[in-house]
Amino acid sequence: MNENIGQLETRNDLQVGRPVLRHEDERLLAGTARFVADIRLPDMREVAFVRSPVAFGKLSPVEIPADAGPDSVWTAERLAHRVLPICATLNRPGFHVTEQPILARGKVRHVGELIAAVVASSRAEAEDLAETIVPGIESLPAVSDPEAALDEGAPRLHDAWEDNVYLSSGRTIGPFDEAVARAEVAVTRDFRMARVLPLPMETRGCVAGFDRGSGILTLYLSTQRPHLIRTMLAEQLVGIEESRIRVIAPEIGGAFGGKSNLYPEEVALAAMAMELPFPIRWIEDRYEHFLSASQSRQHVQRLTAYAMRTGELLAIDARFLVDGGAYSMRTSTAVVEAGMAAAVLPGPYRLGAYRFETVTVATNKMGVGPYRGVGRPAAVFAMERMMHETAVAIGMEPHAFRARNMIDASEHPYVSVSGLRYDSGDYKTLLSDAVEAMDVASVRAAQRLVTAGDRRLIGVGFGCYTEQTAHGAEEWHRRGSPFEYGFESARIRIDPSGSVLVTTGIKSQGQGLETTLAQIAADALGLPHEHVHIRHGDTELCPYGLGTIASRSLVMAGGAVEGAATRLAGKIRAIAAANLGCGPEDIRLQDGTATGPFGNLSFAKIARIAYLELNALPPDIEPGLEVSYNYRPPVESGTYSSGVHGARVAVDVDTGEVELLDYVVAEDCGRIVNPMIVDGQIIGGAAQGIGQALYEELRYDETGQPRTVTLADYLIPGAVEVPRIALRHRETLSPFTVFGAKGLGEGGAIAPPAAIANAVSDALRRYGVDVRSIPIRPRDLWTALRDKSFAEMEP
């Protein structure tokens, strides 16, 4: 079911808003797309890494096997003259920087940390050699639990720190103490959210080659941010300028934030390539991915909600403890998760007072980075569980309690209690869409008939969110980010034959941007979208850009493409007008033709004039048909998408198993450029969120050994586990962006843990059991239910 409610009227001549087929799908479906692992360079050799088998230990210098070839084993000592350690910074007082060596030296701090790199003609031979290198490590007591890491006597990861805290911060906003004193109801809950990882289908990978003649280092890299990685490589590598580094991100099989940071493997390959007469490649296997690709979430939370019996929410008190792992990743740092969670917690609610504390601790585990949603899934889980439980405590229907406290559409722009400036959105309507789709009344009717003997209990729950997207320099600066993701770029060229090439600084990793950006360019130029060819992901071919993160690409790159195309259209009009004997304002651009009152010219003819027949080009018009444009949003606090997820579940009280019966997403991402792509983004995100709610969990033992290193240990939902997801769309345009679009990439993944946990809690209400941790494990539910008895009357 895909019901478009209240969608804007689509103008007949516009291609934005149409569900056109994705330009990239032909090569993807035909298997002709080229990913990093498909790149073959002449004489290319393979790299395998020697990784730490222990979570914490003193490392002796690596001994190179006597029979190893001269170029085959690379140690920290051997790369020392070539690389600098990764030090992710954040311009916030009290933030502790980690120094992450490219190859470990002195100490290892998590299982999987790089110790040495081995080069051989095949990966199997590289692994043969790698396993003969046994690092000398004296194990140290490790810490793998975030609460234990805060203990006074806990092992300290970084010698220069006085404790294990990356950053702790807190604020009290509004009349908090008065709200607490006035409150008639206070509800407190302790929550946990497991550590998960983005887990793209395509693992990481890098091919690096150095051309000694030109001095150019080329990296084929599965990354979301080719230009920024290039900038960072120039900082991390000794002896090469940025202009001599080329980063090419070919086809990417998913990233979800996991390919947004700079990884030591990438720096190591770049440095080794500069020393070697042949190119090298490293393709991460799934085992390595579980050890050394960025991980995410892992919260320990304590929340208290204060409210009146009338249903007025007064204040929230929140504490977030996040396990940041051993090293801060560049550039997100370990504190990205906690900082975001605290800022977005108030969500779509009018909240008068808010107190929060965030603590991010270092543990002997892989670092955490951004993962679709960044902090929001944990914040929305916390807030929405509290909204549900507070409603229960008051005796209100949870969705009514939410609606009672939601910001009205008419209040925008609305500055949230945490200082976020919401541009637009109609949260109450989204909520009522979701409530209607879940048919809450029928669930309540069925629940009234439940008896103590019933095995299968049904429940319904919701999760509401606002999502800051496409925020500009001001917001990144406020957060203390050393890189401000303040603009995006596009360059459009119409070739002498009339074909259209758009290059952009963002990188598509599955979002269909080659299609949506073509739709935007096509409308501005007056062309069929099929004629617009989009290229991205090559730092030599494309203008500088910040990359695809933070649900920014459609708005930012869309703004850049729209800006460049509009300017180019102006030039086309001018050339046409000069040749058609009319004014530029008389020219209409449609279907690749410029039409004036007295005749018309094809774009191909105009391009020919612009490049090859300058006799027809007025001297005051610059030759060529190419325009570059960098889009910087006029308002840099971001545009806010919003959504409400609803879940209906059945819980088997004999086994604790949760069955997802129905799922609805009511969402508003402003102007929809391609409805089919929007649906795909939402469904894919929701599938990941369902995984987090019910299955996914990276487990470590107390010594820091990872216990989930294969897809047999780490469960993800498959087609059978993801129910049909009903979608309801609303389009509340952003006043701040080109044609009112808002970012959408992350939204689907944000609310499922909240909605599903609330539905399960709703189902088990008669037993007095509610969900305190994510993922929801059947074992935990059954254990909690075992000692409880059924309340005959609704409590």
């Binding site: 095949s122 990966r123 199997a124 692994e127 043969d128 396993e131 296997d285 799934r286 085992y287 390595e288 103590a452 003997g453 095995r455 009280v653 004999d654 086994t655 604790g656 299955y695 294969t710 047999a712 469960l715 939902p717 498959g718 059978v720 586990e721 059947p778 074992r779 059954w782 254990t783 239910l785 075992r786 008895s789």
Partner: protein, 279 residues
Amino acid sequence: MKPSAFRYERPASLDALFDLLSGPGDKAVLAGGQSLIPAMNFRMARPALVVDLAGIPELREIVREDGAIRIGATVTHAQLEDGAAPGPVQSFLRRVAGGIAFRAIRNRGTIGGSLAHADPAADWLTALSCMQAEVEIANKSGRRRVAMEAFVLGPMTTALGDGEIITAVVLPDPGETAFGWHKAVRKSGEFAEALAAVRLAPDGAECWVGAIESPVRLPGRYDPAALAGDSRLGGRPEFEAVRQGVREMAPDADDYAVQLAAVAVCRAIAEAGAGEGAA
């Protein structure tokens, strides 16, 4: 995750196979490779020689022997899912085979390979125990048949000796016996957390439990009528009897594992009674 170097042989006959197996060095027999190959990729298994059974036609055959059905060791789960085994065992075999992992795995994984690996969570161990199967084992000098209880000695441990392979599984004619099956999994395609296989005898249901333990037969026989329908939390006496039976046979299992297994037994009994898994 690449295997260490090994030699690969694909003999065309059992005689050639046994010759290879009698040589020196660490050897592994490749039946379907769905457990062996991952173990080799992780370098947990490092055989010097891998002998692939796929080239031996006899091992792929399914034949009737009087009332019994003899299923060759390299018959795949997918073949059984598709009904390759004839006669009264067909539907139960289809039911069990169709629930093993994913179709891609079922296309390669074999019944003999699964038994030889003897992972307690493997579906065939429990199902074939309940079906009172015999495992045909061969070596250079001959063949023997071993009942399932005597074949599985413990987790990942079997009665297979050096130089021996499984050549077939022999299933006796179950007559009118109805079977039931239940597999408790966190998600589709995963290894079971608990398995239950049930055969309805005139004097009650005989039940086997797997996954929480190598397959064990519960001591009692249970009245299907008393267990009909769902088990319900908080214990009817009939359900408590099943749970007690599981607890007795799997003393090391934790409370949740015992609960899951007991629920699986009740659901398998219900299925057998409903005729879904009936022969």
